[in-house]
């Protein structure tokens, strides 16, 4: 059925040959003139960058970048690190993996940054990881609950957000001690890694002799929690272990309120201790939620450094768990950078990071890294929701 006139013979051979020849010749020329890579370090500046969701479905992520930027400004105003100011470029990916990859490539190849610092969002975090793990550029402290970040350990990737499995084990331990639940249910979001977390939860419950009465897998895109709550209500567990995003968990808790049932306690991961959860859930979470947090809430006096820095950076911004986390990462980075000395290189930074031992930020548990330990935060605060606020229940609980 192909028109015989359209066979290759009818196109002028000159056209095709010219095109092919030009392509090959220019490739050779261009390859010869390829540029050599640089560091992102100049005489008075260290340029770092990240991709995170400033807009889009998880726009709360913008706060992580804000918290870090605020701390960097605070440090820059005091003279910078070893005479250099830190320039932090935040590119928006609106939670699109395609954009995240594009942003990271741009930061590496066009802006030539020293390191990819911070970030937020699981899917985009995975995308960024897929690019940086094949490179030598450091990828530091993203707000990403992805086990693959540090499992297996990658030379240039460091995290200060405990793996969800770690968080859950510690949280269940803590809650079991204080509330002694007899039965429990799991509400798990269907994202990458969820089977591992479910397994950790089940093991913990078994070890503590708590009976598992219900197990639910929730789709990211299903806002409707009614059938899930109804099902759980029927089983009436004492404790619910909830692994979901902050809005998702808030919806669940509100639905519980609507159906007039709640368990004795709800625990989960650090998404439950972020202000966005509090804002969305309102009073439905009062005296119900006890969950781990990486940092102290901004209302705590020891968080003053970060809160003040944020206010100095932009008075309109509201401090939250996310801004605190950004601040923590920034503080850790600055400390490692100071230890590197006056001639920073990527290799030197990685070496110093690996030597970090018991770094105390003042508003988080201690951070330690090692050549085979790239998740550095070793303890998390137990936080409860009381009177519409987050309340720290005690000293940081060590993770296993």
């Amino acid at each position: 059925m192909i028109d015989p006139h359209c066979s290759k013979n009818s196109l002028p051979r000159l056209r095709r040959r010219a095109g092919a020849g030009a392509l090959v010749a220019s490739m050779a020329l261009a390859w010869a003139g390829a540029a050599v890579a640089e560091d992102g370090v100049s005489a008075n500046e260290i340029h770092i960058g990240t991709s995170l969701a400033v807009t889009g479905p998880i726009a709360v992520c913008a706060s992580v970048g804000d918290g870090a930027s605020a701390y960097f400004k605070h440090v820059n105003d005091a003279g910078g690190v070893n005479g250099r100011k830190i320039k932090f470029t935040v590119l928006d990916d609106a939670y699109s993996t395609q954009r995240a990859i594009g942003n990271v490539r741009r930061l590496m190849s066009q802006d030539k940054v020293f390191a990819i610092f911070s970030g937020c969002g699981t899917a985009t975090g995975a995308a960024v990881l897929s690019v940086v793990e094949k490179e030598s550029i450091p990828y530091l402290f993203p707000q990403v609950g992805l086990d693959a970040l540090v499992q297996p350990v990658k030379k240039n990737v460091y995290s200060i957000l405990p793996l969800y499995g770690q968080q859950l084990a510690a949280a269940i331990d803590y809650v079991a001690k204080s509330q002694q639940p007899k039965t429990a249910a799991i509400s798990m979001i269907n994202i990458a890694g969820n089977e591992v977390w479910t397994a950790v939860i089940k093991d913990k419950l078994k070890a503590l002799n708590i009976q598992l009465v219900d197990e639910q897998l929730i789709e990211v895109t299903s806002p409707e929690k009614a059938p899930f709550v109804t099902q759980m209500k029927g089983k009436n567990p004492d404790m619910v272990v909830m692994v979901d995003s902050a809005p998702g968990a808030a919806r669940y808790v509100i639905e519980m309120q609507r159906q007039g049932w709640k368990p004795k306690v709800i625990t989960g991961i650090n998404t439950l201790t972020d202000e966005s959860f509090l804002r969305a859930a309102g009073n439905a979470a009062d005296n119900l939620v006890v969950a781990p947090a990486a940092t102290l809430p901004p209302t705590d006096p020891k968080a003053k450094e970060c809160v003040d820095a944020l206010a100095a950076y932009d008075k309109a911004l509201q401090p939250s768990g996310f801004t605190m986390f950004g601040c923590l990462g920034a503080k850790m980075f600055v400390d490692a950078l100071r230890r590197v000395g006056p001639e920073p290189t990527r290799a030197a930074l990685l070496a110093q990071l690996d030597k970090t031992s018991g770094f105390d930020s003042g508003f988080s548990g201690p951070i330690s890294f090692g050549p085979s330990v790239h998740q550095g935060l070793t303890a998390m605060y137990p936080i409860a929701v009381q009177g519409g606020q987050f309340k720290v229940m005690g000293a940081p609980v060590p993770l296993q």
Binding site: D3, G19, S109, A123
Partner: protein
């Protein structure tokens, strides 16, 4: 290409006008080889989207079949190739071929209801199919679930700082353009146009409607699959979100904004949809608004797209070939 009627090429000589066009084209295609790695990456994306858009032009422009299922073909292209490579250890070209065959099958399947349904209903079905494929790959562990698949990085993708891969994509795009041009101006094109204009009459002239529509879908599926495979290779990470139903609408926008009348219209449209997010990086949402406004403007007032605007401009500047 351009306004030069196809017949004048047969004698084997080129008009001055098409020589100029050719030079411009070669320059544009060659430029990214000299740019930074990132700009080359963007140009590679342009080539990939161009392949997808040129493929979508065939059912939409010729057969008036509004297919919103293109993301499904691209998804199959990416995932099938990835699975063939990771599970079967197949070399990349063979894996892409296998994905292509699978996508063609899907295309044929989508064509099945096309006789019983009006244009609008078929459009809805293709939308549903996109959504179905997208949701399905997120469910099964085989396809990596919500996280997707991490591909090993291939030497030819990284070679010469991305120049080799760019050349491959550009080459495939040119090939795709030529094939599309052949289809468009050949018998298949005539048959497709006839089936769109007046199905009953076409049938009475011996056109087998079912076969023709299946062909349109299958051809677009092949293009989509190749584009999807290349997209997966370019990032070595296949995320389900990158192949969501939204992608169908983006490629559709590329075809529409670029213009459906000429083979190179979709290439221009693809450039447009790749550039807008880049140029508006710092004000991302403003970019989306500009993009949507142009989409509405083009579909409302300038149905021929950028291609029509450019051709019109040239005509008014008196460069029409007599």
């Amino acid at each position: 290409m351009g306004d030069v009627p196809f017949g004048s090429q047969e004698a084997g000589h080129t008009s001055p006008r098409s020589r100029v066009l050719l030079t411009v084209l070669v320059l544009v295609l060659v430029a990214p080889l000299f740019a930074t790695g990132y700009m080359r990456y963007v140009a590679t994306l342009w080539m990939i989207y161009a392949i997808a858009a040129v493929g979508l032009q065939i059912p939409i422009g010729l057969a008036a079949i509004y297919s919103f299922g293109h993301s499904a073909f691209m998804l199959v292209g990416a995932y099938a190739m990835a699975l063939a490579i990771m599970l079967g250890g197949w070399p990349v070209p063979i894996a892409m071929l296998a994905a292509l065959v699978l996508a063609a099958l899907v295309g044929a399947l989508l064509a099945l209801p096309s006789l019983r349904l009006s244009g609008f209903a078929l459009a809805i079905v293709t939308m549903g199919a996109s959504s179905l494929f997208f949701q399905s790959v997120k469910v099964f562990k085989l396809t990596g679930g919500p996280q997707g698949l991490f591909l090993p990085e291939f030497a030819f993708v990284k070679a010469m700082d991305g120049r080799a891969f760019y050349a491959i994509c550009a080459g495939l795009m040119m090939l795709g353009l030529m094939v599309s041009h052949c289809v468009e101006s050949g018998r298949i094109g005539r048959v497709l146009r006839a089936s769109a204009a007046n199905p009953l009459m076409a049938q009475s002239f011996g056109v087998h409607l079912m076969r023709v529509r299946t062909l349109a879908f299958v051809i677009s599926a092949v293009y989509g699959s190749i584009a999807g495979s290349l997209l997966g290779l370019s990032t070595s990470y296949i995320a389900p979100e990158a192949y969501a139903p939204d992608l169908s609408i983006q490629v559709f926008a590329a075809v529409m904004i670029g213009g459906m009348a000429r083979a190179w219209g979709p290439v221009l449209g693809a450039l447009f949809i790749v550039l807008i997010p880049e140029l508006t990086q710092s004000v991302q949402n403003l970019g989306a608004i500009v993009y949507a406004l142009i989409f509405i403007a083009v579909s409302t007032v300038y149905p021929g797209g950028l291609q029509q605007m450019i051709s019109g401009l040239r005509a008014r500047l008196g460069k029409r070939v007599p």
